[in-house]
């Protein structure tokens, strides 16, 4: 019974990934701070990564999932660079990174 409990299967991974995804979405939707929003994006990407790795490790044994995960990490790094540069530019222009205050569109 204990073995059955300690056995970590595919569903566990998927559940953690789903929790991560939701937390990421939540962060993404509610953060006022641009850095916080970026953190939300990172969470979502990592949730996806977790799924890739889980399916790769516990699925048919092929390494494609890991490769994609590495790609995603590299993409995320690149995306962070670009995004942080934009945030810095916004800060320089508006002296704030609160995304509500930066909005210039009419209600």
């Amino acid at each position: 019974m204990m073995g059955a409990i300690l056995h970590i299967g595919l569903y566990h991974y998927l559940a953690v990934a789903a929790v991560l995804l939701v937390l990421g979405l939540y962060t993404l939707a509610t953060r006022r701070n641009a850095i916080g929003v970026l953190l939300g994006v990172e969470l979502i990407l990592n949730a996806a990564n977790l799924n890739f790795v889980a399916f790769a490790g516990l699925g048919n044994g092929d390494a494609g999932g890991q490769v994609v995960a590495l790609f995603v990490i590299a993409l995320a790094a690149a995306e962070s660079v670009v995004a942080l540069a934009i945030v810095l530019a916004i800060f320089n222009k508006y002296r704030t990174i609160e995304i509500d205050k930066v909005s210039r569109m009419k209600e």
Partner: protein, 721 residues
Amino acid sequence: MHEAAIKTIHVSYLWLMPAMPLLGFLINGILGKKLEQKLGRWVVHSTAIGAVAVSFVVACITFASNIAHPHAVLVTRLWDWIAFPGAAHTLHVDLAFASDRLTSVMLMVVTGVGLLIHIFSTGYMASEDHYGYWRFFAFMNLFMFAMLTLVLGDSILLMFVGWEGVGLCSYLLIGYYYQDREKAAAGMKAFVVNRIGDFGFIVGFSLLLWSLVGTWDQVSGLYHYQAAFSPTLTFRNIDALMADATFRNAFLAKHVLGVPVVTLIGILLFVGATGKSAQIPLYVWLPDAMAGPTPVSALIHAATMVTAGVYMIARLNFIYAYSPAAMTVVAVVGGLTALYAATIGLFQTDIKKVLAYSTISQLGYMFIGVGVGAFSAGIMHLMTHAFFKATLFLGAGSVIIGMHHRQDMKDLGGLKGLMKSTFWTFLFATFAISGIPGTAGFFSKDEILWKAFDTNNLLIPGWIVWLLGFIGAGFTVFYMFRLVFQTFYGEPRADEHTLEHVHEDWRMTSVLWVLGILSLIGGYVGVSKSLGGSNRFEHYLEPVFERSAAQIHFLSEEGGHGFMHSMGGEYTLMGLTLLLIAVAIWLAWKIYYNKYRTPEQEAEMYGKGLHRLVFNKYYIDEIYFKFVVNPLLAFTRACKWFDHWVVDGAVNGAAWLTKFFAWLDGGIDAVFVDGLVNLSAHATLGLGRQFRKLQAGRIQQYIVVLATGLSILVIVAFLLK
């Protein structure tokens, strides 16, 4: 054709007489202020006096020429003035100057007295430095220009130009002290009253022009134009036309609404004369005109301008001779004015006011003269009056300057020893105006009174006119000697400071002596036959008046009218006049010699009611104000009210109505038309506002919607499975 009757000699110099003063006016008027500041006053008055002096010299030449050519008119034609080239029988007026013997007498008086008064003015105006020395002389020269245009004008139209010009100068010079409201108002009064007369003058000569070239229908009164020649409106032209029996008979038969046109013309032109020459009923401006500087009163309001009316009637003798009715009006108005103004002169206390009423009265005598047909006697009185009245006014001016601008008798008195030249010349002129035998006024006034008595040319007996003049003569003597006694005799009434500074200016006294002596001897040019003379003056003017003389009737010349219309009658009347003069002088001596009488004492002596009536000039000014000026003002106010409420009201009402409709229209437009347009706009806008919220650019919002939608879809898909 008609000109043939009167010979004309074309000369080149007549235009110089008006032109020189005009030049003087332009120089002083434009540059006078600069000349006075840069070069001094002598330049200003030298220019003015020089201009008049040249005119005087030319006048002397003209006079000599007129003596040499008794029956000719000297003409200087400058250019066409009013002409319609190509059209037949239309008005054709030249700008031309003409001089016959009548003109030459006027020229000598105007330029001679004018020159003397210009010289006098240099003394009188010497202390003037507020109102402009140059302004005074510029206006004086302008006046000389206008007066000489009036006298020399060849046609009635050019005479009218001068006639208006002298009126303007009179206005300008009466209001010379323009900062004094009362004096400025006096100038305005003179101008307005003269305009009333001028209206009569304009209608008169227009009627003359029309009657020369047309007739009025007897029944309907409509005018028919039927010219057979081009009227020129020159005096000699009309004179020649009237000498032509055919034309004359046709002319005299013309009637307007039943009145002979010649009578209408005569009376209307005389209305002009009553304005310019201050006769009843338009004399009221002349006493006020004393507001001007005294040389102006002497030149314009005594010697020259005011005699223009007399000159005009003498000039148009060929019209008046054919209308006994018009002549009766002239003679009676003249007689009434002579008497009436003399009575007002009795109680005036301002020396210039006495002289002003005296002038009105003396002008009355001139009108008696021309009115009864004694044209040459009227003109002679015009000349002698110019001498003695100029002397009197200039003497008054000398007193005013010597006494530091005091001119009321209450401040004068006892000047006999202090102002010797002024006193003696003033006395000479007083003798002349009183008609003391041998002086200038005696010959001219006596001739007029005799002719008035003797006339058989009026619609009323001549002795009525004579009586008016006779009584007036008595009053004249009385007020003049009152003036002399109150001013020059008795104790001086001025304060000591003034008396210490009493002085006479040689520029003034020299002129006074010349004019004073002329007042004494000026009458010898025309001693009548009854006094052993040959009446040279009348003979001199005979060529001018001979054609109308045939129409004028005097009883003595028609024979068989008893003692009073023979030489004996003339001596009897002369004796009566002398007796009257003696009595008047004696009375004045009794009452005023060495005794000053205040107006209150005079009121006691003559009766309070009478004195008050005469002292207040019969309240004529007040009556005019009550019955003419105020009704006119009320009428203008009524017009203003009508204009304001009815005319403006109609305009404003229309404007208001338009505005109201525009407002209504605008309202409909705004509410309904615009409402529809705005409604669609508002609907679009509202819709857009709602939809806009979907595209707010808030990515976080999108994510929420996206996640929610996805969740719903997932749940639905799960449930449906």
